[in-house]
């Protein structure tokens, strides 16, 4: 059985003393990786991109085929069940609500409407109006309400209809959510989860295409994770709910209809771990959320051209999983970061700084970061396409780095 998952129950602690021996990464046989990787990064099965509801433009034929081992098809493909990413989030959420009666959801249109992206569909009928709460349109207030409820013993999940709207909740998130555990001397915990779709969608306009991870990354006291596949979406949702810290879970508008087969058994992923998508030798490509799929598409081209990129989905945006990243950098000595954030002050900027500080000696070339330009996202489809990093750019950046 090739697939292993771990982290059921306890969230693995932050410390870097993980059981994955970095030597193992150098072994030529990839099979051994899949069996002995006990840190829980599962190799992703093929996700069928043709199920994307969006218009069939050239972009849509992304095959986010993050197959880890060459030629190895999913061995346990017949077990488990197939579902879309938003259904995986829904499943994780429902399992947690079933398990712990203190878990509740609040947000706009989450109750009887089922949520704008159907993540909370059916939950209001099952758990009642109090546990799945429809709120008036005041993000600062329902986030504040979630914080107050969390301090009094509940475990709320606050849904922002679009991450961009959570800018209105910035005061509560920064001044209270991140701080009250600290300023109260540890007396009050805030086990809140704030989630919602963000990122550049299909012509949603500038205000609805925000990348909030870059604005929130500086707030002390919160954790940030970004999901990218149905498997990690469910696992991260469950982990976030069980965590005692405030967690912000970033979903992406365009990834909600990804289909994947996930295990039937219960599993919880670690909030602080990165995911090894494709091991390689020549260059480390760090990415997260939707850009993972652009990178994997570029990886196909690169493989055909004879390169062997190692692709890591960093998943944990705050704090970074410097252990996994470090092991990779020590192996390949070249780093390319591909993100959707703006160039200035984005996740890539912080990641560049973190890697340079810690692994400077292992780098053979300066870190290259591909990000969106510092412009508001235009509405016109063609212009919008060019604000997002495309596979062709990734390929040429790798070629340049690996010269």
């Amino acid at each position: 059985m090739a697939t292993l998952f771990q982290g059921v129950g306890a969230v693995t602690p932050f410390s870097a003393s993980s059981s994955l021996d970095s030597n193992k990464l150098l072994l030529p046989s990839r099979k051994s990786l899949s069996i002995s990787d006990s840190r829980g990064s599962i190799f992703v099965y093929r996700s069928d991109a043709l199920n994307l509801k969006a218009a069939t433009r050239k972009q849509d034929l992304l095959i986010p085929n993050a197959v880890a081992t060459k030629g190895e098809t999913s061995t346990s493909a017949k077990s488990g069940h197939e579902l879309l990413l938003f259904e995986a989030l829904h499943e994780g959420l429902e399992e947690e609500m079933e398990r712990d009666p203190r878990v509740c959801v609040m947000g706009e249109d989450v109750g009887h409407y089922g949520g704008s992206y159907k993540v909370t569909k059916g939950l209001a009928e099952k758990y009642g109006d109090l546990r799945v709460l429809d709120t008036p349109i005041a993000e600062n207030s329902f986030t504040g309400m979630g914080i107050g409820a969390a301090m009094t013993g509940l475990r709320p999940i606050v849904e922002g209809m679009n991450m961009g709207f959570l800018l209105l909740a910035f005061n509560q998130i920064s001044n209270n959510c991140g701080m009250l555990h600290y300023t109260s001397g540890g007396q009050f915990t805030i086990p809140i989860v704030i989630r919602g779709p963000g990122g550049v969608g299909r012509q949603l306009g500038a205000e609805h295409s925000q990348r909030l991870e870059s604005y929130f990354q500086s707030i002390p006291g919160i954790q940030m994770v970004a999901c990218s596949t149905p498997y990690n979406a469910k696992g991260l949702m469950k982990a976030a709910i069980r965590s005692e810290n405030p967690v912000i879970l970033f979903e992406h508008v365009l990834l909600y209809n990804l289909k994947e087969r996930i295990p039937d058994e219960e599993y919880v992923l670690s909030l602080e771990e990165a995911e090894m998508v494709r091991p390689g030798e020549h260059i480390t490509i760090l990415t997260y959320s939707r850009m993972r799929y652009h990178v994997m598409q570029a990886a196909k081209t690169l493989v055909n051209k004879g390169y062997d990129p190692e692709v890591i989905d960093i998943r944990s945006l705050k704090p970074f999983d410097l252990y996994t990243i470090g092991c990779s950098v020590k192996k390949t000595h070249r780093v390319l970061i591909v993100e959707e954030c703006m160039r200035t002050g984005g996740i890539g900027a912080s990641l560049t700084a973190a890697i340079t500080e810690n692994f400077h000696d292992y780098l053979d070339a300066p870190i290259v970061c591909l990000s969106s330009q510092d412009v508001p996202t235009p509405y016109a489809g063609t212009l919008e396409e060019w604000t997002v990093v495309q596979p062709a750019q990734i390929v040429s950046a790798v070629e340049q780095l690996c010269q």
């Binding site: 509940l154 954790q223 410097l322």
Partner: protein
């Protein structure tokens, strides 16, 4: 005869009101403009039944906020005397037509009256009705008001002497602090703004604990991480003070929601000032509380000043009490310097909130005698004689003292004993706190998360290395 009410689901309280209204002959033609009938019914017995404003009519639709099975659903059929016989359906309910274009005035001719029990001399007013309190309660209330007053004056001086960095007093608002706290139970969750240390004092926070927080030493529950006066104690159900204004108001709704889910017989109580009512969080918090049927009591201490901004420049409405109705919340205006009035109002509000699962807004009119804080000199923007007037003639502590003394429950001897004892305790507590150790370096990094993540571990390590290299630059009273 104008209005008839029909109840869909039974409620003891509302049936009572209906009978009462019919008995009192209320049912005048509902008009929009003025409150010609008196908003508050006085009843001979001290109360557990709430005071209501009979202009209240609304159609509630419970689609997704059915809180309990015993929720009320009122349908109000309005048939008016003049030419508005027609009623039409819109989202939100039936509404009557009128062919007269009449704008609702921005304010009613008469301001909402203020509930008061004792007059300026501490004499109960004629026909006053209020919730009775026992001798023990009255004496404790008075002693705590004196303690709060003494604490404030001593700590203010300590800041002026440079021994603590900051302080802010609650002078002039002792009655709001103590009397409201006295009317609540220890299960009620308090979310303060920052001018309510009296509530914590009432609940048993010791003088030593107050002083420890001010000095930020190792005994401080907050581990020295917040400014002075940012008290917090989960044992006393008093949420840690957070400096941004009004952020606690929506949080109170969340806390109340949590209490409601747990089925506890308790409510959330939150405080803000007149300035805080301008914040967006105030409006959204009240709106949410109303929509969610959350058992919250919003106590607004309208003390006339928000640092240097007087209320005339803060809002143009008739104070804060009228805003409650705009959100569908029962509200009352109370003389905040009258301890008995505040006690009665809060006591009753608590019963309304818990039994009927609804929010209540209390506007306590008072005056901020002290400066905004030790960083402020209020004589720069208001006349000194105004401050003196409120400090002497309208002092809430003296007023309550006269009432307590008149009942034979307090004497001058008690007074001098209490004041000197409190003073001595405070001095001692200050001495102990000053000498105590400061929190260790590790407390800089603990509690940011539940466990120390690797980046913080590394940052702590780096800091310790620097300290080891330059011990002379590191403060000697902070343990490593």
């Amino acid at each position: 005869m104008a209005s008839s009410w029909s109840l869909i689901k039974r409620s003891r309280t509302l049936i009572h009101h209906k009978k009462k209204l019919a008995f009192l002959g209320i049912g005048s033609a509902p008009t929009f403009s003025s409150s010609s009938s008196s908003p508050f019914m006085k009843r001979p017995c001290a109360a557990s039944a709430p005071y209501i404003n009979n202009h209240f009519r609304f159609l509630r639709r419970f689609e997704s906020t059915k809180a309990e099975a015993a929720q009320l659903e009122l349908q109000h059929y309005v048939t008016d005397d003049d030419d508005n016989n027609q009623v039409i359906d819109f989202p939100g309910g039936k509404v009557a037509f009128t062919s007269e274009m009449r704008f609702i005035s921005e304010s009613i001719q008469k301001r909402v009256p203020c509930y008061r029990v004792l007059d300026d001399n501490g004499m109960p007013m004629k026909y006053s009705n209020y919730v009775q309190i026992s001798k023990e309660m009255a004496v404790k209330m008075y002693s705590d008001m004196v303690t709060l007053q003494t604490m404030d004056s001593i700590f203010y001086e300590v800041q002026r002497q440079g021994r603590i960095s900051f302080y802010l007093t609650s002078m002039g608002e002792e009655a709001v602090n103590i009397a409201s706290a006295a009317a609540l139970s220890f299960d009620d969750v308090i979310l303060p703004q920052y001018r309510e240390p009296g509530v914590l004092l009432w609940r048993g926070f010791t003088l030593q604990q107050f002083v420890d927080q001010l000095f930020g030493n190792t005994s401080d529950l907050g581990k020295g991480r917040q400014m002075p006066i940012h008290y917090g104690s989960n044992k006393h159900n008093y949420f840690t003070v957070s400096s941004p204004i009004a952020t606690q108001l929506p949080q109170a709704v969340g806390a109340a929601y949590s209490l409601k889910i747990d089925g506890k017989s308790a409510c959330a109580v939150t405080y803000c000032g007149d300035g805080g009512t301008s914040e967006g969080d105030f409006h959204a918090g009240l709106n949410f509380a109303a929509v969610m049927d959350a058992p919250v009591i919003f106590i607004c201490r309208n003390n006339g000043w928000a640092i240097s901004t007087p209320v005339e420049e803060q809002f143009r409405s008739d104070g804060v009490v009228v805003k409650g109705q705009a959100y569908g919340i029962w509200s009352i205006r109370v003389d905040g310097n009258d301890a008995l009035a505040v006690y009665s109002a809060v006591h009753t509000a608590r019963e309304i909130a818990i039994k009927e699962k609804r929010p209540v807004l209390i506007e306590a009119l008072t005056y901020r005698v002290g400066h905004h804080s030790t960083s402020d000199d209020s004589t720069k923007y208001r006349p000194i004689d105004e401050i003196e007037y409120w400090k002497m003639e309208r002092n809430p502590v003296n007023r309550f003292k006269r009432w307590v003394e008149r009942n034979g429950w307090w004497s001058d001897h008690n007074e001098s004993e209490l004041r000197s004892s409190v003073r001595k305790q405070l001095m001692q507590a200050i001495q102990v706190a000053e000498k105590a150790q400061k929190p260790p370096l590790s407390d800089l990094f603990n509690d940011v998360y539940d466990r120390l993540p690797s980046n913080l571990e590394e940052q702590e390590r780096i800091l310790r290395e620097i300290v080891k290299k330059h011990p002379e630059d590191y403060p000697s009273d902070v343990p490593l």
